[in-house]
Amino acid sequence: MSHTSSGPRVGLFVTCLADMFRPSVAFATVQLLEQAGCRVEVPERQTCCGQPAFNSGDRQTTADIARQTLDAFDGYEYVVAPSGSCIGMLHQYSDLFDVSDPYFQRAKSLAARAHEITSFLFDVLGSSALEAQLKQLRFEQKVTYHDSCAGLRELGIKQQPRQLLSHIQGVELEEMDEAETCCGFGGTFCVKYPEVSNRMVSNKSHNISNTDAQTLLGGDLGCLLNMAGKLKREGKPIEARHVVEVLAGMTDTPAIGEADYYRAKQL
């Protein structure tokens, strides 16, 4: 299906981390949305959801960023991002405005339209939307899945990515212990309290390597960068990917933090 189809008009919230570190996550999201019949656009005036300011206690800056994001995503039927954490933040925008502020209602409206990608595909569009395409994919790997905190506890994302993955041939999911325990990323937490964060991500890495999984999957790039970085530092052979890369069949790019063999060969 092409992006000229007549399905819902979706604004892609790229997320600052996917923009900077892993464009394939955003491209995979676009592809999945288009396969499901959506018309996808990428508003130019988006940057970051504002979480670093919000969690640092700077409400004024957060509100400024919220206004900018609200303006950028005006008029889209849906706003979709490959991150439960950023969508969780978008859902909180209305708390930043006085009820009499016009942005309050707009923030309420955005919250109703903003979805994390796996939840959008599964809960909003319905599981059958993509089933046929997913069934044609093959990913011969044992995988384990980390439930990122905001997605899990703020948005109720647990089964959606697992259900979608289950359609792909060859994927075998082995759950790790404490899959729902925080990986220790926490935005600026990981640099403000590095030792505590390190303990948390070490526990995570331990639980991941206790499975037979070759690949770690998750739905939030912040957590994945943290866990991939730890696994690599520890010299563990487990690769890390955002779940949308697998769902979109885009697994020929090197995994997170892996050497780019293609590029290495070219050089």
């Binding site: 570190f21 940057t47 640099v191």
Partner: protein
């Protein structure tokens, strides 16, 4: 109690390298949470009870004056006394006065976090009254001149050898490492103290307005001896513990036991309703309740009012990955874990307590298990807002945030910046795909690699594709 909260990072560092502590914390991590999960599983209406608990507590906080006055009236009708203590100092003085009126030499104490909060033991000792803790954990801590590291399992940070040594040093008996022998030893020593005590001090889990009763919930039964044997019983508790009726109390008892230890009911649930009446077999001659405020009433009407719902079950710390990594003493004051990270700044000031509400990833686990649904992460964020407004955050953090905000609010400039840093990181990483060192990010790269950007930024790549129409 001495305030060590500003040294959270150093204390956390020490805790992470303390093997005994880490062994104890590993047990805690699986112990209480697993038991809680089973108890919740067995009770389909648990979620409904949590909502009821939250709503009822909200109602109480809206009418706190009314219920407290009703409680006071009932206590007096029952022949007891009620004392209002605005500050910790007031509370200590009131308690000392009561002890001195009855010429008390020693007082036995049941487990009470409020008396930790007001620093009662030190104060009594300085004034010639010897307090004796009777909760086993608290007793061990007292021997070691230590403090609780958990609100319901105060000595969770100690191991058997620590206990054995403490007993050996103080009990004048042969050293043993057999838990049963140690338990018996504690029983025998404490039994003498119970009989000798002039005053018994307990806390209260709840104060019931309709009857003027207080209740303590324990698993050891020490509280019962503490409050029935001496002539004078002083209940030291705080103003948010009042509930309207006995039935309301039972709602919280059901939530409390399951959330705390995964028990369906705690072993001893002991109600005290005034002093001994004619014909009573036992009970104290004098019954006092000291209602401590110590900053709580200031929370009413603010965003922190929700914190007054707390029933001190400890579920939030039992499930907290930060508490699980560093233990309770790292928090540097009386209340540890997520509930402590909200309460401590209220009680010691955000200037000293600011480390705590920042020591959270906002993973939300605490809120998800809290029996009265306190939005702990949101309240910690409120403290960060308070810090931000008062310019209390470290300079580097403030300037970092301000520069970042400047860029983020200017999308075109932001694109230039991301393109540049994306290119820089890729160049540094070379073929490796990741960086083992990154300027200004040593907090990250000291412990883990930084995956390098995969390619140019998405926004660049997307623009190119849109231009060329190439969607491959």
């Amino acid at each position: 109690m001495q305030i060590n909260t500003p040294f959270f990072k150093q204390r956390a560092h020490d805790a992470l390298h303390d093997e005994n502590l880490q062994t104890a914390l590993a047990k805690l991590k699986t112990g209480f949470p697993e038991k809680r999960a089973i108890a919740v599983e067995r009770m389909p209406e648990f979620e409904a009870l949590r909502n009821q608990g939250r709503d009822l507590k909200n109602h109480i906080m809206e009418h706190l004056d009314l219920y407290l006055e009703q409680f006071e009236t009932k206590v007096i009708e029952n022949g007891g006394h009620v004392h209002w203590a605005r500050t910790a100092e007031d509370a200590n003085q009131i308690i000392l006065d009561i002890c001195q009126q009855v010429d008390a030499k020693t007082v036995t104490k049941g487990k009470s976090m409020v008396t930790e909060e007001i620093g009662l033991n030190d104060f009594l000792e300085q004034n010639g009254v010897q307090p004796v803790e009777t909760d086993l954990g608290e007793y061990i801590l007292q021997l070691r001149q230590d403090h609780p590291s958990h609100i319901i399992a105060p000595a969770i940070h100690l191991n058997l050898e620590d206990v054995s040594e403490a007993f050996h040093a103080h009990h004048n008996r042969p050293k043993s490492s057999d838990p049963a022998v140690l338990m018996q030893e504690a029983r025998e020593v404490l039994r003498e103290k119970f009989v000798a005590a002039d005053v018994g001090i307990t806390g209260a889990n709840f104060c019931v307005a309709e009857t003027g009763s207080t209740i303590i919930v324990t698993n050891e039964g020490n509280g019962d001896l503490t409050q029935t044997l001496p002539k004078t019983h002083i209940v030291v508790t705080s103003i948010e513990k009042v509930v309207p009726t006995l039935e309301d109390m039972t709602l919280f008892l059901r939530l409390l036991a399951r959330s705390a230890t995964g028990q369906e009911f705690s072993v001893y649930n002991t109600l005290s309703t005034g002093p001994r009446r004619e014909g009573d077999q036992d009970g104290p001659e004098n019954f006092h309740v000291v209602l401590v405020d110590n900053g709580r009433s200031e929370m009413i009407g603010t965003e922190f009012q929700e914190m007054l719902r707390c029933i001190r079950c400890s579920a939030c710390m039992n499930h907290c990955p930060v508490y699980g990594a560093v233990g309770g003493h790292s928090y540097g004051w009386v209340y540890p874990g997520p509930m402590g990270s909200v309460l401590t700044p209220q009680m010691i000031g955000i200037e000293q307590g600011g480390m705590l509400p920042n020591a959270s990833t906002f993973c939300g686990k605490c809120e998800s298990v809290c029996p009265v649904k306190i939005p702990l992460p949101k309240l910690m964020r409120h403290w960060r807002e308070d810090e931000f407004q008062k310019h209390l955050q470290p300079k580097a953090a403030r300037y970092g945030l301000a520069s970042w905000a400047f860029l983020v609010k200017r999308p075109a400039l932001y694109r230039c910046f991301t393109r540049l840093s994306n290119w820089l990181m890729r160049s540094w990483a070379g073929k490796k795909g990741r960086l083992s060192k990154l300027p200004l990010a040593s907090g990250w790269t000291d412990w883990r690699d930084m995956p390098a950007p995969q390619s140019q930024t998405f926004m660049q790549a997307w623009k190119q594709q849109q231009k060329t129409g190439d969607r491959s």
